[in-house]
């Protein structure tokens, strides 16, 4: 029987971790992830979990200890934000390349400088090429659900890749909502047992991890990672299907909202999608045919499927909560990847796609601004030519 509790995103994630009961967690506190590790520490202190909780002295050591523990053959989880992810960046590549199925919650927070503790996506976007899967959560419920699914996804024998479960720092991590918490045994049953492929602890079958590759083997090892990532979409959907069967909540690679008969649409991830849905309903109430697409899985980037869902629209705006500095027009990464998607899979007749960078460093975005974007889109749909490719939405000029 499910329990319904008032929890914020951090507490919901900590609860998922309690139920998953991993063998090892090595984590370092950083705002706004801190509450998650604090809540979990209390579980440890109260004997509610079997987890060996390693209070490491930095995030670099957190991911290193996770790599050692996962290499040993344990089920391993951790969590971080912002500068913490930046500090462990080197080792996140190692974790993915060594094919260690570590699951990490990231409470998305801006990168320095200047130092900022609030939400934007620059942290995980800065790590988007590291070979990890990335799943974004709109709400504490999604964060909880995604953590549980992430274990199954990561440990799938076709993948054996680490997974980041993202939620907006403060906005989701610290916002209390009504969250359905499943029965402990139901979660345990769903995630199953972990069977490591090459456990170091199997001392009778010694293996070597982390060898030196010269130019004669490195390329082949990377090609293997690519192959695994190529299987990821299928695995994610299969796990979601099983999740739906047991827990009656459906997840996919992305969510569409009133998009099927829309004329224009916004592509936006995470909590802002929630705000945007309210705007969609408001405009629909006035007879304006708008919709939205909320990407859930950013890595692997489901370009073909997303373009397929958007190709009937007359204009598309992407909302990016980070900047890829120095990219074309200093656009955001979501836009850049989707634009490439349209190039690869889009219809012959070009659809105008534009980018709105918003919310950096936790700058709030409200329904009025999103409504303005839809206004721009409707003009764009008739003109066909954008005023500019990238707009910085909400910055003071």
């Amino acid at each position: 029987m499910s329990d319904y509790r008032a929890l914020d995103g951090n507490q919901a994630v900590a609860e998922a971790m309690r139920q998953i009961n991993p063998d090892v967690i090595a984590a370092y506190p950083i705002t706004p992830q801190t509450e998650a590790v604090q809540v979990f520490s209390q579980f440890v202190a109260d004997g509610q979990v079997d987890t060996e909780f390693v209070t490491v002295e930095s995030e670099h050591s957190a991911m290193s200890a996770c790599v050692g523990a996962a290499g040993a053959g344990a089920r391993v989880m951790t969590a971080t934000s912002s500068a913490g992810l930046a500090l462990m960046w080197e080792i996140t590549y190692v974790a993915a390349s060594l094919r260690l199925p570590i699951v990490m919650m990231v409470a998305n927070r801006a990168l320095s400088a200047p130092i900022n503790i609030h939400c934007d996506h620059s942290d995980t976007m800065g790590a988007r090429d590291n070979g990890w899967l990335q799943i974004f959560s709109e709400s504490p419920q999604e964060a909880y659900d995604n953590m549980i699914q992430a274990i199954r996804i990561a440990e799938h024998p076709e993948l054996l890749l680490p997974v980041m479960v993202n939620q907006d720092g403060f906005i989701t991590s610290h916002a209390v909502e009504r969250v359905e918490i499943f029965d402990d045994s139901a979660v345990k049953d769903f995630i199953g047992e972990y069977s490591p492929r090459y456990p170091l602890l199997n001392v009778d079958k010694p293996v070597t991890f982390g060898a030196l590759d010269f130019y004669d083997f490195y390329f082949e090892h990377k090609r293997q990672q690519v192959e695994a990532l190529g299987q990821a979409k299928e695995v994610i959907l299969a796990v979601a299907a099983d999740f739906n069967k047991r827990f009656n909540r459906s997840y996919g690679l992305f969510e569409t909202y009133r998009l099927d008969d829309a004329e224009v649409g916004i592509v936006v991830m995470s909590s802002t999608a929630g705000t945007a849905k309210v705007v969609v309903d408001e405009l629909r109430g006035r007879g304006v045919k708008v919709g939205l697409l909320k990407p859930r899985v950013f890595r692997p980037f489901p370009a073909e499927e997303m373009v397929d869902a958007l190709k009937h629209l007359k204009a598309v705006a992407v909302l990016d909560r980070s900047v890829a500095f120095g990219a074309m027009q200093n656009a955001g990464p979501l836009f850049l990847e989707l634009a490439a998607g349209f190039q690869a899979y889009g219809p012959a007749a070009r659809i105008p796609v534009v980018d709105y960078v918003f919310g950096l460093g936790g700058r709030d975005i409200g329904p009025t601004q999103i409504e303005a974007v839809y206004g721009d889109l409707r003009r764009l749909a008739s003109d066909g030519r954008p005023e500019r490719l990238v707009t910085y939405l909400g910055v003071r000029e």
Binding site: L160, Y198, V207, F209, E220, Q224
Partner: protein, 101 residues
């Protein structure tokens, strides 16, 4: 030299499954000098075995039996550390020539 494997045939994660397979490498080819044992002088104290960086001193039932020339790099530590001067370092080129004759 065997043809290197393609990505489909390699274990994932860059893992090396065969422990100690480095022994296939002929590091003996590096030598400029090789050790020569005077069996009469040798007391099987096994100092040479302990100090060889390349595990190339062969020991059978506690007795020093010779050198693993497939791996020995000719560093000369064994000759230096032998307390009874039972090991001499000789030029590899001549020693190899003598061997084939």
């Amino acid at each position: 030299m065997a043809k290197a494997k393609g990505w489909r045939d390699l274990p994932i994660g860059g893992v090396i499954e065969e422990a100690g397979c480095a022994r296939d490498l002929n590091t003996g080819a590096w030598r400029a000098f090789r050790p020569l044992l005077d069996k009469a002088k040798c007391t099987s104290c096994l100092q040479c075995w302990m100090f060889c960086p390349d595990m190339s001193v062969e020991v059978q039932d506690g007795k020093m039996t010779g050198f693993d020339l497939y791996h020995c790099k000719g560093c000369g530590i064994c000759a230096e550390t032998c307390p009874v001067d039972a090991i001499a370092m000789v030029g590899e080129a001549e020693a190899a020539k003598e061997e084939t004759q």
